[in-house]
Symmetry: C2
Subunit: 96 residues, 2 copies
C-alpha cells in the first residue's frame, strides 16, 4: 500500500502522463484496456498513481499509446492533439 513519497510522486506523474495521452486519443479505460492487455481496474490505479507498477506494464502502456517509453517520465505538459474519435488507427476495438 504505502509507496514512499518519491515513488508516489513519480507514479502520479507517470499516471497523469498516461491519462493525458489516452484522452488525447479519445480512448476510455476500456479502450486502452483492450489494446494494452491491462485490465480496467489496473489502468485506473496506475493513472492515479496508487500502484507500484512494474516495468513491463509501463512499457506495454507506452507501446499501446504509441509513445516512446521515456516520454512517460517527461514533465507532464499539454499533449497537443485534442480529438474525440473513439478509434485509433491501427487498432480494432471490436468485441473480443
Amino acid at each position: 500500500m504505502g509507496l514512499d513519497s518519491d515513488t508516489q510522486r513519480w507514479a502520479q506523474q507517470i499516471g497523469q502522463k498516461i491519462r493525458e495521452h489516452r484522452k488525447a486519443q479519445g480512448l476510455t479505460l476500456d479502450g486502452l484496456s483492450r489494446i494494452s492487455g491491462a485490465t480496467v481496474p489496473t489502468l485506473s490505479h496506475i493513472e492515479r498513481g496508487t500502484r507500484d507498477v512494474k516495468l513491463s506494464t509501463l512499457v506495454g502502456l507506452a507501446k499501446a499509446l504509441r509513445m516512446e517509453f521515456p516520454v512517460l517520465l517527461a514533465a507532464s505538459g499539454s499533449v497537443d492533439t485534442e480529438q474525440s474519435t473513439p478509434t485509433v488507427d491501427g487498432y480494432d476495438l471490436d468485441d473480443d
Copy 2:
C-alpha cells in the same frame, strides 16, 4: 520469468545505466546495497536486466546513485567520472 522483448530491452538498458553509475562512483554491489536498501542479489538481477523491476525499486536506486530518475531511461553513454574511492560523500558505509 519471460520478459517480452520490449521490456527486456528496457530492463537491460536501465541495468546497464545503473551499473555504469555505480562503478563510476566506485561502489560494489554490496556498497550500493547498503545505501539503497536493495539486496545484492536483487541488484545483480536488475543490472543484468533479468527482472521485471518495480517503479519504487528504480526510484530508490536512482536516489541512491544521486541521479535524476529519468536519466535511467536515457541512452547508455559513458558516465564521465572515473573514480575508485569506495566512499561516496554523504553516505556512511560502516557496518550496520
